[in-house]
Symmetry: C2
Subunit: 430 residues, 2 copies
């Protein structure tokens, strides 16, 4: 059987998963596609740590560049992470005409434009299926399975850490800090969790999904990004009472010629499919003009699921090498010169507002008046009883209005003497 030589850069958790996955299933893959992937080099700075997978020491090296340059290496797998070393190595491999498989969403969200352009120039492919959705083949679905559709909307739970924390906060009525600590102890969150909980990882993935769906490079800076730090278990309980759950969502939506791309905590109706996605799972709901809504669900991170998608990309690379069909399916089509990301101020949503108000007559009327001046109308109000302090939390659900209206109204509301703390605002997707 034909063989193709692979060089793996980065022998971390996912890297070890790819090695194990290939060890287990190489024969099966060969049977299925008629080509055998053969791992010839593994490069990492740390060659001593036990990864729970056994490899011949002869294929281990600290020199990633020598791996890229070795003529026996036909496909380069980049699983180093970060954007400095990885960027140079990915570009180096592409310059040498070698296809690259990567799970590095941070790299592609920041430097995708130059990387995809270089790949086109060198007539070589970049595969990034594992950058979004872990073990869920959603990038393929969007690139291939839905290629005939104009994409109307994508909504996704794309970060397992945040979803785990929110699920625990809801189930155990835990505060954010406690759920975060638990996630860290369980290995579901990093010691420095900011990339996840501040929504940055989700916005990297949103950039890739949006760029792929709409055919232009969505600048990371154009993505409105909020994390989950400010959410309290009170918000989760109030949302529940109102018939919603709170999820960190990436929302990508066509509005005329503009594209909304935003990442923020979101109230989702309890009976919505995304509301029942719990724990570390991810789910992506894609609406096409022909296919309607389709959902993709599975493990969004973790060693083996992510390795599954890396290996799928490796097989795609093997097949394109074997058929000499580089750039057969453009990794990242670029055709919408005039499309642009909608300014956040123009984005229109319903909102959940948690205000801290003095419990006295006439206060609600003043709030309603300020909202009304901005054409924001109130759909429902929920006032929670409290037993201490003079300020009480009051929750309002509004009808749809533009961001700038909320900004203006909330600034005026915060200046009132009856308001005890900044208002927490969470957008709603119905």
């Amino acid at each position: 059987m034909k063989e193709v030589g692979l060089g793996l850069l980065g022998f971390g958790t996912v890297g070890a998963g790819v090695v194990r996955g290939l060890q287990t299933n190489t024969e099966l893959i060969g049977n299925r596609v008629g080509i055998l992937p053969v791992l010839k080099w593994i490069a990492d700075v740390d060659l001593d740590r036990d990864r729970g997978v056994s490899v011949p020491t002869a294929i281990l090296t600290r020199d990633a560049w020598s791996v890229i340059k070795d003529p026996a290496i036909q496909v380069v797998i980049e699983l180093i992470g970060g954007t400095r070393v990885a960027r140079d190595l990915v570009k180096g491999a592409l310059e040498l005409g070698k296809p690259v498989v990567t799970a590095n969403k941070a790299l592609l969200a920041q430097y995708g434009a130059e990387i995809f352009a270089l790949a086109r120039k060198r007539n070589v492919d970049v595969y990034f299926g594992a950058s979004v959705g872990g073990g869920i083949p959603v990038i393929r679905a969007l690139r291939d399975g839905l290629v005939g559709n104009r994409i109307e909307r994508i909504r996704g739970i794309l970060n397992g850490t945040c979803n785990y924390i929110l699920t625990r906060m809801e189930r155990e009525q835990m505060p954010f800090e406690g759920a975060l600590k638990e996630a860290q102890n369980g290995g579901y969150a990093e010691q420095d969790p900011s990339l996840d909980i501040d929504g940055i990882d989700t916005s990297h993935k949103a950039v890739l999904l949006a760029s792929l769906a709409y055919g232009f490079h969505v600048p990371l800076a154009a993505v409105h990004t909020e994390g989950i730090r400010r959410l309290s278990d009170l918000d989760i309980r109030c949302a529940r009472e109102l018939g919603y759950r709170i999820k960190l969502l990436a929302v990508i939506k066509r509005v005329g010629t503009e594209i909304e791309v935003r990442v923020h905590p979101t109230l989702i109706p309890l009976d919505h499919m995304l509301a029942s996605v719990d724990g570390v799972f991810n789910a992506i709901l894609v609406q096409g003009d022909l296919t309607g809504e389709t959902l993709y669900y599975g493990r969004g991170a973790g060693q083996s699921p992510t390795a599954s998608t890396v290996i799928a990309d490796v097989v795609d690379a093997l097949q394109n090498l074997d058929a000499s069909s580089a750039q057969r399916a453009p990794a990242m089509p670029n055709y919408s010169g005039q499309a642009r990301v909608r300014a956040m101020r123009d984005v229109k949503t319903r909102c959940y507002l948690r205000l801290s108000l003095l419990d006295q007559a006439g206060v609600l009327a003043r709030i309603a008046a300020l909202l009304g001046e901005q054409d924001i109308s109130i759909a429902s109000v929920l006032q929670k009883e409290v037993h201490s302090g003079e300020y009480v939390p009051v929750v309002m659900v509004t009808h749809a209005a533009e961001e700038y209206r909320f900004e203006t109204a909330l600034k005026q509301i915060e200046a009132l003497d009856v308001v005890g703390a900044p208002t927490l605002r969470i957008r709603i997707e119905d």
Copy 2:
């Protein structure tokens, strides 16, 4: 831009959807993949009926063979349905070295072995993404996205008509006949609904999924197939009380070296993802050894969703033509010479039994004894009150046992004088 000529055979509902989809999105597709699909011929026996889509009469013909033979036609789309004419035309196109896109699961389930063999021999591709799951790109997910996984299990709701009927029976507490009539009036069921409600359509799709997952041609005759005709609204209510919903499921499962492939009504726990799939929607749960469980959900039938997947296959064909990469990804890999479908008698499941028993002392004990002789133990019993007749329905949920044990026990039970009617048995998937 490069152009590829398409010939469409069959201008029915899905055919018209493909025409409209191409009319709407050809430019977008061209932008995405750099090749334009151009519809050059539409063949159908009926050229007069209004399909709600306008095409130049010059491209309409009654002569499907002339379409296949026209050198301007590079890709043939077969949407005629049935297994007689379609079989000849598909084979004719392949003989001429032209790739075929088809949504014809009946054809491939029955004649797939010869069709895929011919395609290999002629070094040309057959694309059948729209044969399973309508607008859900699940065939692609299985072929490409999960190619690195050993597939442990697939469970799917694959027939929208049955799922619609079962959903209506549950929601409206309707008998089967009423729900079927409603489905027919609403256009969700054919006037002769047997292909759907007897599970045949689902078993065609199960053959394709199982063959693709396990690399051997699963004979249609080896698939145990039961439909939903015998289900009553009483069963649906009893199941609900016991914490289950009833769905027509395709179950495909690796058990050692054998593969279970079966289609039957199934009790699914209420909190399971498949239990919440309602109406005409489809969902497929695929478990891989690396990726774990992934779910694919969307519209499993209908004009535009099915057209979406047909068009995705057309694009795959365009790309392979353009890159001269025929047979780049084998349509249906065939490598598991020794695998075989497990005999139904050896399949082990838990079961729901609805017995019709005389309401007198000692009857349950006699039933339990006969089940016990076959090592079938009872997990729970539900006796419904009735107000007329001497026989009462008694529902039992058992622990897992092999089919042959149930067959033996139920035969003995039916011979008892205290049993008023044959026992209805529904398998359970947990």
